[in-house]
């Protein structure tokens, strides 16, 4: 984003690496606003309890409890599913696009957007399962070798949906976890520092403190912020985001083409997939704005989520609001002009019929509120932004209800035109799924960093003078090799630096010593692109693995569709050809995204030699700060020719402004 964006700096100029880490990790480690959290959690828990009661009754009595014994067979079910998956798609798209565009301010928004995508998908994913009459047979929708000798119908959008939602969940979990991984390491190190302090003070809670550090440590999988780790991490993060963006388009059009492909008035329009996608992204941004504002206010993160962030979110909402207004206008224009009496009747029924309230809520919620964001003052007012976001979310839900219910109530058989009214159990089901979402969201806010620490630190290094100053100040002290050479077997030599530039210079200086007897690596709290040349890692890429995974997965799934439908289970349905390849492409693409994502994960682990909970690098004194504000060089001994003294001399001899370490140590095995 250029300087044209109003509202001041993207990060407060006095932010430092350590300050960011402290501000964000304070939330999971010390739980500020504990009482408010418990009150909110009790409310969310109550809704979750309502969900459990509703599901139990649903299992006992069947889907008829939703008052859907009429032509509106889905009741609120598909509307809720579409809304949740829309929110998930929107959030995922926002975070993915920000990541791919390299918007440097994304740290404040990305984590929340990724979390929303994950949690909304979890809520959405339950709907297709619970609306089956016998939900325990949900796996019948998946292709697996069964005793019926049948395959699922690969030409059916129902199967596409099943594959889509599984892929979507995998990608959401993956994007969320990859982004979280280095932050988990920061949390682990801070929790460990606290546990050590408590152990020294013999505090009664020291056992719990250590356990907490270990739990974070397990999830951090031994992340050490090594230059090689970071290189793969940056690539993996971006590639999964790309897969996610592609999948969003596939999922949203899949769901809407199902409706548009039918001959129902009000659905049968080529504009429907477009307006579905626009409204999905719109509601995703709306909910993201609400949650970001909430976190900002409750946890006082004004320094990291600055007015400029609000401004950007506001502009995004305004753009999408205009796009949504265009979709409504185009739909009305098209319907009136097309001359189809049925479609015109649906339009009139939407605006004046039994469900007119729903339609007006949709139109007014999606189109009008965003218009106040033309004003720069409204854009930077957190309350205004949150209110608009909330209204957009409500409007998007009403839109789904409008599209589904108004068309369905007017069945083609006049005898089937029974009235449908939303009943209590339908509302309870939706409220319960909101409860599930809120419960998980509150747990996330309590135990995990709500704002990306890594991205905020990168932003601080680029933009905040304090962070840059801090790095310069620390180098001026001279360093000498430690006087007491360790008697124990040697793992290697380490050196500490205050900035990436120093680390890169030092690595360049010692890289001549040769890779045959010393394995060099850098460690730091942010990605270390400047060290890669010295480490000889330049050009290493995760893309071949991602590409191979996606292509193999997609081709494999396509082959499965062809084999099942054209050879193994020939089944004449609706006169469709045996080789209905266009309908096989949709689930194959979804599956390809999932396979690529899994391949990226495997590559991330294998190429980085992770998970590795115990590693000699952790023996480096002060290494906890490798996830905070220090940069470390490690030279690992390889064979007998390793000459620690020579490396130490070379490091100590570097000029103060170009790579001289703060500290040099020998590290025992």
């Amino acid at each position: 984003m250029s300087g044209a964006v109003a509202g001041g700096p993207l990060i407060r100029p006095d932010e430092t690496l350590q300050g960011i880490g402290g501000a964000v990790t304070a939330i999971p480690l010390t739980h500020p606003g504990n009482r408010r959290w418990w009150i909110a959690f009790a409310g969310a828990g109550a809704l979750l309890g309502l969900f459990a009661v509703t599901l139990a009754y649903l299992l006992y009595a069947g889907p008829g409890i939703w008052a859907n014994n009429n032509a509106v067979v889905w009741a609120l079910d598909i509307a809720s599913y579409d809304w949740w998956i829309g929110v998930a798609s929107g959030s995922l798209l926002v975070s993915g696009i920000l990541l791919l565009l390299g918007a440097e301010w994304r740290g404040a928004v990305n984590r929340v957007a990724e979390t929303l995508a994950l949690l909304a998908t979890a809520s959405a994913g339950l709907y297709p399962i619970i609306h089956l009459g016998r939900p325990w047979f949900f796996f019948w929708n998946l292709p697996y070798p069964n005793t019926y000798d049948l395959w699922p119908q690969f030409r059916s959008p129902l199967l596409w949906d099943a594959i889509d939602i599984v892929s979507f969940l995998v990608i959401c979990v993956s994007l969320w976890f990859i982004g979280l991984l280095p932050d988990l390491a920061t949390l682990r190190d801070r929790a460990f520092a606290e546990a050590t302090r408590q152990a020294d003070a013999k505090a009664p809670t020291r056992g719990r403190a250590l356990l907490r550090a270990q739990v974070y440590g397990l999830f951090a999988s031994g992340w050490r912020g090594s230059a090689a780790h970071w290189q793969i991490w940056v690539q993996a993060y971006q590639t999964v985001a790309l897969l996610g963006v592609l999948l969003v388009v596939s999922v949203q059009t899949g769901a809407s083409v199902m409706l548009a492909g039918s001959l129902m008035p009000g659905w049968h329009s080529t504009l429907l997939p477009v307006s579905f996608l626009v409204n999905a992204v719109y509601s995703g941004v709306g909910v993201t704005a609400v949650i970001v504002m909430l976190i900002r206010v409750v946890y006082g993160l004004d320094a990291l989520v600055t007015p400029r962030h609000l401004d950007v979110l506001g502009r995004l909402l305004l753009c999408l609001g205009c796009a949504s207004a265009y979709c409504y206008a185009a739909e009305a224009f098209d319907t009136v002009l097309s001359g189809d009496a049925q479609a015109r009747a649906v339009l009139v029924r939407r605006l004046t019929g039994d469900h007119a309230l729903v339609s007006w809520t949709a139109v007014l919620g999606l189109v009008l509120p965003a218009q106040i964001l033309w004003s720069a003052r409204a854009r930077t007012a957190p309350l205004a932004l949150a209110a608009v976001g909330l209204l957009v979310a409500v409007g998007a839900y009403a839109d789904h209800v409008m599209v589904l219910v108004v068309t369905l109530t007017q069945d083609f058989l006049p005898s089937s035109r029974l009235p449908y009214t939303v009943d209590l159990w339908g509302i309870a089901t939706f409220a319960g799924s909101v409860g599930l979402f809120l419960t998980l969201l509150l747990l996330f806010l309590r135990y995990l960093p709500a704002v990306s620490i890594v991205e905020s630190r990168r932003l601080a290094l680029a933009e905040a003078p304090a962070a840059q100053e801090e790095a310069r100040a620390a180098t001026s002290r001279a360093a000498r090799p430690a006087e007491n050479p360790v008697a124990a077997p040697l793992w290697g030599v380490s050196a500490t630096f205050a900035s990436q530039a120093d680390l890169a210079a030092a690595l360049q200086a010692v890289s001549g010593i040769g890779h045959d007897h010393a394995r060099l690596d850098g460690h730091g709290p942010v990605p270390l692109p400047r060290t890669l040349r010295a480490l000889g890692l330049e050009g290493r890429s995760i893309l071949p693995y991602a590409l191979a995974g996606a292509l193999l997965g997609g081709a494999g799934f396509f082959a499965l569709c062809v084999y099942a439908t054209a050879y193994d289970y020939v089944f004449l349905i609706g006169g469709r050809p045996r080789l209905s390849w266009p309908s096989f492409v949709v689930p194959s693409i979804s599956f390809a995204m999932m396979a690529g994502c899994v391949a990226i994960h495997l590559a991330l682990l294998v190429l980085n030699r992770l998970p590795r909970l115990n590693h000699p690098a952790f023996n480096i004194p002060g290494f906890l700060r490798a996830s905070d504000d220090r940069f470390f060089l490690s030279a690992e001994a390889r064979g007998d020719r390793f000459d620690a003294a020579r490396i130490e001399r070379r490091l100590a001899g570097l000029p103060a402004e170009a790579g001289r370490p703060i500290e040099i140590r020998r590290i025992p095995r």
């Binding site: 019926y148 000798d149 031994g222 089944f571 952790f618 023996n619």
Partner: protein, 219 residues
């Protein structure tokens, strides 16, 4: 700085990860295996009956025709379980004092049917008709196995959907000449490849397309 985890933690962590992956793969495989096992399908298991009736003795050794007891197999949907009277046509004359046959005589005297344990069951949602299968050339043993060799009767095949579909998709592999339908040791003759399609045409069996329509069995 001290390590947060001992070196052993790594081994445990990897073990746990691998166990997780193994469970992810192994548990569905295990479940699928259990569902297909004889323990669940009951194939080859002869349950205790009111008295130990032997198909091998009556049908195999003495040569009583299937239709002597299962009288409606050629005309009705069900083949029919014989009433006690059918047993007593012979057993009023032979083995009249046998202890083994006491339940049959009791049943006859009290006019209370014997309660046999049913072996070959189909779910309610499956429509099945014996007569059409038998008259179009599908033999008893194709589904019920060689009953004439069963001392105690057991289920020979699990009537899973794939069992039915196997034949409905390619009836020419199983269809028999009319005189072979009651042959309990029938195996496809050498000329089944030419005979099968001929019989299929002759009996107007429309395998593949018509017979695999859902509504053929699930009416």
């Amino acid at each position: 700085m001290a390590q947060l985890f001992t070196p052993g933690a790594d081994a445990l962590y990897r073990l746990a990860l691998m166990t997780g992956v193994a469970c992810l793969v192994g548990l569905p495989v295990l479940a699928a295996g259990i569902v297909r096992s004889n323990y669940v399908t009951g194939v080859g298991i002869a349950p205790a009956q009111p008295l130990p009736f032997s198909h091998k003795h009556h049908s195999g050794e003495l040569g009583i025709d299937c239709r002597y007891c299962h009288t409606t197999v050629e005309r009705e949907a069900t083949a029919g379980i014989p009433p006690t009277q059918t047993c007593m046509t012979c057993h009023t004359q032979i083995w009249t004092g046998s202890d083994m046959l006491k339940p049959v005589r009791d049943s006859y005297a009290q006019d209370k049917p014997l309660e046999w344990k049913r072996l070959n069951k189909l779910p309610q949602y499956v429509y099945y008709n014996h007569s059409v299968h038998v008259t179009k050339g599908i033999g008893c043993s194709t589904c019920h196995g060689d009953v004439t060799s069963m001392q105690m009767t057991y289920r020979a095949n699990a009537f899973e959907m794939r069992f039915c579909l196997d034949c409905h998709r390619a009836p020419e592999k199983y269809v028999r000449a009319p005189d072979q339908v009651w042959n309990m040791t029938w195996t496809p003759p050498a000329d089944q490849a030419t005979l099968g399609p001929k019989l299929v045409a002759q009996n107007h069996i429309r395998g593949g397309e018509r017979l695999t329509e859902c509504g053929i069995c699930h009416r």
